[in-house]
């Protein structure tokens, strides 16, 4: 078995809130292998983006910090690395694209300058060399007529094109890991398909590993090989994508899958009954308690769920579940 590219062990990220310190990420571990695409799935407020920001060293200053655990990237612990080193890694070896292509580009610089900036900072390219590389990159993300578009400002581009520019910036230095935080939520479905195809092609060409953050199970199925379902800052399930979709072990995963009306191969007059997951994600105050945090919304809840945090159990081959009631399905 190959060495993981990124290995996160027992990560705990704490946030300062009005009610004291809350662990937004609590004892979270996962591995990412070279060239692999994995996905973090869950509702908003479950810590998906926080994990990404933690890996990137971008936690909000003075509010969030990595309290314990390690983030091992190519033999180096990012959790304890200093700012200078992290700045070197960000955009160079690990890059990130964000949800809102409208707000993540600087409106007063041309897109060419924004792409070239990365190349100058990390690869020491000259002005001219970085500019022509920027044009190449625009071509690689399939922006038509890149020679002319390179001097456009973000407002002159459509949402899909802006997201392509973001991808060009993120991939400029051929990073080993690309974190895509809901990259298509703000885009139309046909544009989303274009972006997914682009990411898949670029991944094949460059061998970049991808962490996709999303709540759309369809997108997960399309893009990733392995998924990690997160709930309230904890990992509740992990496994190969199709296996988890067909046979989810955790009630939360089951809920996430069956609460969405899916388009199946053949539509019939019969309509799927949408299973509701009652209630909402607990407030930060309750994070970190020694119990199953999903218990308040779970129909299988028992005494034990309210008193002890479930441990991860291997549920089927290479599928782990953190639930006291996994045996109910067998």
């Amino acid at each position: 078995m190959t060495e993981p590219l990124l290995s996160v062990q027992n990560l705990r990220i704490e946030l300062n809130t009005r009610d004291g310190v809350a662990p937004v990420i609590d004892d979270f571990s996962f591995d990412l292998f070279p060239g692999e695409a994995i996905s973090f799935v869950g509702e908003s407020g479950c810590g998906k983006s926080m994990t990404a920001l933690g890996i990137m060293g971008l936690l909000p200053d003075g509010v969030g910090k990595i309290a314990s655990g390690s983030i091992n990237f190519a033999g180096e612990d990012l959790a304890t690395a200093d700012d200078k080193r992290l700045r070197n890694i960000r955009g160079n070896e690990i890059s990130m694209i964000f949800q809102e292509p409208m707000t993540s580009l600087n409106p007063v610089y041309t897109i060419g300058e924004q792409i070239a900036e990365v190349l100058r900072a990390h690869q020491g390219l000259s002005r001219q060399a970085s500019w022509s590389k920027a044009i190449e990159l625009l071509d690689a993300v399939r922006i038509p007529n890149p020679q002319a578009r390179v001097s456009d400002y973000p407002f002159q581009m459509s949402g899909g094109q802006r997201q392509r520019v973001m991808i060009a910036i993120a991939l400029a230095c051929e990073p080993k890991i690309l974190i895509a935080d809901e990259p298509t939520t703000a885009l139309d479905v046909t544009v989303q398909a274009q972006i997914f195809d682009l990411l898949n092609d670029l991944r094949k060409q460059t061998g970049t590993a991808i962490i996709l953050i999303t709540h759309d199970m369809g997108a997960v199925a399309e893009m990733a090989e392995r998924m990690i379902v997160m709930y309230a800052g904890r990992k509740v399930e992990e496994g190969p994508v199709q296996q988890v979709i067909d046979n989810a072990g955790h009630p939360y995963t089951q809920g996430l899958i069956s609460c969405v009306p899916h388009i199946l191969e053949k539509l019939t007059t019969e309509r799927q009954t949408l299973q509701e997951v009652p209630g909402i994600v607990p407030s930060l105050r309750d994070f970190g308690k020694d119990q199953c945090l999903f218990a308040t919304r779970c129909k299988y809840v028992s005494e034990k769920c309210n008193n002890v945090r479930p441990t991860e159990i291997e549920f089927e081959s290479s599928q782990t579940v953190a639930c006291w009631h996994t045996e109910r399905k067998q």
């Binding site: 544009v191 199925a221 388009i263 539509l267 949408l274 909402i280």
Partner: protein, 338 residues
């Protein structure tokens, strides 16, 4: 009422345009035709979905239906009332019959009003009920949408996103409307909460015999909610069909592309659906191209598509398509493509 089924809402040749900042010197006004010659009808108790990408005119068409934007041409008949001709008191009465549920439950509720006052607002402005009757209605509505009576006194910020959308639904139901226009009612909500709202909407539909005009870009949700679908592209309806025809045998290349773009959890569907890529973006809506508006992105476009605008033709029962390349055999023009 006659025994023949008359549609609750009939929209004929609707056109909505917005003036674009005119040139100061020549005073020549240019318009953006947001909705161009759109016709549809909805039977009582049914759901019509309008789908399309952002900017395709679906929301504008819905707003015009409730006369929240002014149509410059066409006819809208709601329950035998000509919506475009009536004024003042008549319009007020007609508006009790058509209500809106908005996309964003965070910005569509007045933050300074209590939940009960929000729900009472349409009653205050559109009806002459006594305050006692209004309160009884509010009590009923809170129960119907699954909120507790003591929550009436709370302000919007004290509710979660799903609960806020419930308040929005209660407000839409307050005047006992016949038609409810749901404009992306769940797209701002978390996935797990979406199911709660969709189930509630369906339950209310059968309970109060409501008719929905459902606007969404999420085809999974649309497939779950609707009976008929109108697909819009750049202000025009390109395909209009019942649920099964549209999803199982789409005819317009744009519809096929839209359907093939949806990521699916169904492995069989992923393997059997060929992704139909439509490159680029829609053309400039201010100067729409001659001929078919989809032609420049269409994988099978012919000469005629760039010259002549296709009309919405009935191809088979329950399916209308605006495409030159769909013949009488109702074969998708994409079927020759490999």
């Amino acid at each position: 009422m006659s025994s023949i089924k008359t549609p609750l809402l009939t929209v004929e040749n609707l056109g909505v345009r917005f003036p674009i900042k005119s040139n100061m010197f020549f005073k020549q006004k240019t318009y953006l035709y947001a909705v161009d010659d759109v016709s549809f009808e909805i039977q009582r108790g049914e759901t019509l979905a309008i789908v399309g990408e952002s900017g395709s005119g679906k929301t504008t068409a819905a707003l015009a239906t409730a006369r929240l934007v002014t149509a410059y041409s066409g006819n809208i008949t709601l329950d035998n009332t000509d919506m475009l001709q009536i004024q003042k008191e008549k319009l007020r009465q007609a508006r009790t019959k058509v209500q809106f549920i908005f996309q964003d439950p965070y910005s569509s509720l007045n933050p300074r009003l209590r939940a009960e006052e929000i729900v009472k607002e349409p009653l205050n402005s559109l009806t002459k009920f006594s305050s006692k009757k209004k309160q009884t209605l509010v009590d009923e509505l809170f129960k119907a949408v699954g909120l507790r009576p003591e929550q009436q006194r709370l302000f919007p910020h004290q509710f979660s996103g799903g609960q806020r959308q419930r308040i929005g639904i209660a407000r839409a139901l307050a005047t006992q409307p016949e038609l409810i226009i749901c404009d992306e009612p769940v797209s701002a909500l978390d996935v797990a909460v979406q199911a709660q709202i969709l189930n509630l909407l369906r339950e209310l539909q059968s309970k109060y015999e409501l008719t929905y005009l459902f606007i969404s870009h999420d085809l999974g949700v649309v497939q779950h909610m609707c009976d008929h679908i109108a697909v819009m592209y750049m202000g025009k309806i390109v395909e209009y069909a019942d649920r099964l025809s549209l999803f199982n045998s789409p005819l317009h290349p744009y519809t096929s592309a839209l359907l093939s773009a949806i990521p699916s959890v169904d492995k069989k569907r992923r393997e059997n659906t060929k992704r139909i890529l439509i490159p680029g973006d829609p053309p400039d809506p201010i100067n729409p191209p001659l001929g078919c508006r989809f032609a420049n992105r269409c994988p099978v476009a012919q000469d005629i598509c760039f010259k002549e605008e296709p009309l919405l033709n009935q191809i088979k029962s329950g399916q209308k398509v605006a495409c030159h390349l769909v013949d009488k055999e109702a074969k998708s023009p994409l079927s020759n493509l490999d």
